[in-house]
């Protein structure tokens, strides 16, 4: 993964994290309205987004680690 790809992944992760903020706010609203079906539906979306967010985190961590090894190799 290149630095450019890391940048894109981080941007997408930020977008996804930001959207989770709205999703949780809407879960709160639906709960206040007593709308259990919408709470359930939105929680499924949140589950999938959290899983995707964790995947982005793993990708960035792995890419950053690999680049760090390359830099160390060049220094040696």
């Amino acid at each position: 993964m290149t630095i450019a790809a890391i940048k894109d992944t981080a941007r997408d992760a930020r977008s996804l994290a930001l959207s989770l903020n709205t999703d949780f706010a809407n879960v709160q609203t639906y709960a206040e309205q007593g709308n259990a079906p919408l709470v359930d539906a939105l929680m499924e979306t949140i589950d999938a987004k959290m899983a995707q967010l964790a995947q982005y985190q793993r990708e960035i961590n792995a890419a950053a680690g690999r680049r760090g090894q390359i830099i160390e190799h060049r220094r040696a």
Binding site: T22, N26, T45, Q52, Q55
Partner: protein, 139 residues
């Protein structure tokens, strides 16, 4: 002007007739007049922060992207491109299988690609960029 985030600073910044960006001491967002807001798909209005889109309010951090993709002629080509990328991540994220993602995919598929002076299609550009990265082989 009274906004969901308090009193606005001044008259706001118009984006053509019926769409105005308001700033307050704490936050801000767009107000879309009722006749225009009726053109925003129901499920996108309902997906806004605290469903403020139902009253025509779209906050500035992310709900603004809904305004930009529904009314692309009111924004710059770069803003529309950013809005599509943002909306793709929000509603059509990798692995999405929910009803909102399905509805969003159907709606954007019906939209024309000619969103301004550039010949590119912001929607397809955003989806292609995300697909290229998520389908790239390994590290």
């Amino acid at each position: 002007m009274h906004t969901p985030w308090g009193a606005s600073h001044g008259p706001g910044t118009p984006h053509g007739e019926g769409i105005t960006l308001y700033s307050t001491s704490s936050y801000g967002g767009f107000f879309v007049a009722p006749e225009l807001n009726a053109k925003v798909p129901d499920y996108l209005r309902a997906a806004t922060y605290r469903q403020l889109g139902e009253q025509g309010w779209y906050e500035e951090d992310q709900d603004w992207s809904i305004v930009a993709i529904v009314f692309p002629d009111r924004f710059s080509a770069d803003d529309v491109k950013d809005a599509h990328r943002f909306a793709a991540m929000r509603f059509d994220f990798p692995g999405a299988t929910n009803a909102l993602a399905d509805a969003y995919q159907r709606w954007v598929a019906e939209q024309p690609c000619d969103h301004g002076p550039t010949p590119s299609c912001p929607r397809l550009d955003a989806q292609a960029a995300i697909r290229a990265r998520t389908e790239a082989p390994g590290l």
